[in-house]
């Protein structure tokens, strides 16, 4: 665990894998809940957790540097199921990258349990991990100026769902009717860091 100071009152804690970032995030949330850590923001990301708005950053840095990272907590949280139609315009490109038939993309994707590694890009947009590294795909060479809300998309090691229409360069493989973000709902975000996610095909895969 490497602790980097960020400005006057933040720390960036760097670890070596997404799983470690998940475990660290859970541990930091636990410490904050029990009053041992005062941080306004705890922001997990790919290989880091950012602690922002700290009262005593130097003390927290010293504590974290000395600490052993506990293992990730058991998967206690329920799985969020997102209904999906594998009808995205980039399904063929993704199938080609993966070297499989198109309907196999759907089968592999729907057969994977994902976890929200972190959020960003837009409120309620989760970066979901779970696919093996051999299924990483590049972003599209030319981003789309408008990706429809509910688009299920892939880029790099991540799957994501666009909470609202926005420009985007991810490969679109499907569509969901799930409402990822509704600020009038509690909680507003369907997905938050650590949430387990499964994509459930609306139509049986392979029998269109």
């Amino acid at each position: 665990m490497k602790v980097l100071p960020v400005g006057e009152d933040a720390l960036l804690v760097e670890v070596s894998s997404g799983d470690e970032a998940h475990a660290l995030h859970a541990e930091l949330l636990r410490r904050r809940a029990e009053g041992a850590l005062s941080a306004r923001e705890i922001v997990p990301a790919a290989r880091t957790v950012l602690l922002d708005g700290l009262d005593a950053p130097a003390r927290v840095a010293a504590e974290l540097t000395a600490a052993e990272l506990p293992p990730a907590p058991p998967r206690a949280r329920a799985v969020v199921e997102l209904p999906v139609r594998y009808d995205g315009p980039d399904l063929a490109d993704v199938a080609a990258h993966w070297g499989v038939p198109e309907r196999e993309v759907a089968r592999l994707h729907a057969g994977t349990e994902f976890r929200v590694a972190f959020c960003g890009f837009a409120p309620g947009f989760g970066y979901l991990t779970g696919l093996p590294p051999r299924y990483d795909v590049p972003r599209r060479a030319t981003p789309r100026t408008a990706v429809p809300a509910g688009s299920v998309a892939l880029a790099g090691p991540y799957t994501g769902v666009y909470p609202r229409s926005s420009p985007g360069g991810w490969q679109l493989i499907g569509t969901t009717d799930a409402v990822l973000w509704d600020h009038a709902r509690v909680p507003a975000a369907l997905l938050s860091p650590g949430t387990r996610v499964r994509f459930v095909p609306v139509e049986p895969v392979g029998h269109p």
Partner: protein, 289 residues
């Protein structure tokens, strides 16, 4: 009419509702948002007897014109500008009574960029995640004002203004931003780090509430590629592939993949919010306190 509301007659180039923003939701991808020139927003609230979390208007470049439907006390601060009620000049930076139905004109910024209009009782549009701020990155909060928008006003708190006039810093002729280096300064060559803290930059016209963009010497990277996405703080100086530093302001994205060479002290961001395009910028390295 006696209803507590403010009719927007001239929205101006970009006028938004702002308060202290919505910190605490960055892990969901929600920017903090909030007034860019926080001391100016605080001041107009104090001048109008409002608590500090009260929502105000933030104008850009050319002010705005509004018509309150009931008699209200207002105050304008931030970027200096001409203020008039029904065409008659009134004080800037002080409480002003605007009769019901009168026209309050907040003129173009004489210097600086953003003027703040506080109204006794505050702007009471529906809050989103505890804040009424317009967030231009994510679209949360009320949309920017348009001509004809009617904004609800709250009841006065009953607290008398604790100041009547207040000294304010003039918008800077040169923007000096104190920075602490890191967390990713090692992603740049030592020469690039020296350039960053010694050479002059200029404020780019592409700046907005998301970031203060700069023009000047490109900073050379010591290593190629992108970082895995990581959390971003207010004041982070991110360096995109063109090598020109961008200072993250209130509507900044919560995560990003370009390396952050340094972080600007929070106290210097109000001046950054008032720096017009072309203003010289210097980044100066300071020790972490």
């Amino acid at each position: 009419m006696t209803d507590r509301a403010l009719a927007v007659v001239r929205a101006g180039a970009l006028t938004t509702v702002q308060d202290l923003g919505r910190p605490g939701h960055a892990h969901l991808g929600v920017p903090r948002s909030g007034a860019l020139d926080r001391p100016a927003a605080d001041l107009v609230n104090r001048l109008t007897g409002n608590p500090p979390e009260t929502a105000v208007l933030e104008t850009t470049v050319n002010g705005c014109t509004v018509r309150p439907r009931s008699t209200v006390t207002v105050a304008v601060a931030g970027a200096p500008c001409r203020v008039a009620v029904d065409g008659r000049p009134v004080a800037w930076g002080a409480p002003v009574r605007v009769p019901a139905g009168a026209l309050l004109d907040v003129g173009p910024a004489v210097s600086g960029l953003r003027s703040y209009v506080g109204v006794c009782g505050g702007i009471t549009v529906e809050p989103v995640l505890g804040s009424r701020s317009t967030d231009l990155l994510s679209g949360l909060g009320p949309p920017p004002l348009t001509d004809g928008t009617v904004l609800p006003l709250g009841r006065p708190s009953g607290v008398h203004a604790r100041v009547d006039v207040a000294p304010q810093p003039a918008p800077p002729a040169e923007l000096v931003l104190r920075v602490t280096l890191g967390p990713r300064d090692r992603w740049f060559t030592p020469e690039a780090v020296r350039t960053f803290v010694s050479r002059p930059y200029r404020v780019s016209p592409a700046s907005n509430r998301i970031g203060l963009r700069t023009e000047g010497a490109a900073l050379e990277r010591a290593r190629p590629g992108e970082l895995p996405s990581e959390g971003m703080v207010l004041g982070a100086v991110q360096v995109p592939p063109d090598g020109r530093p961008v200072v993250f302001l209130a509507d900044h994205p919560t995560t990003g993949g370009y390396p952050v060479i340094a972080v600007v002290r929070a106290a210097d961001l109000a001046a950054a919010a008032q720096a017009v395009p072309g203003t010289p910028v210097r980044f100066t390295a300071v020790r972490r306190r």
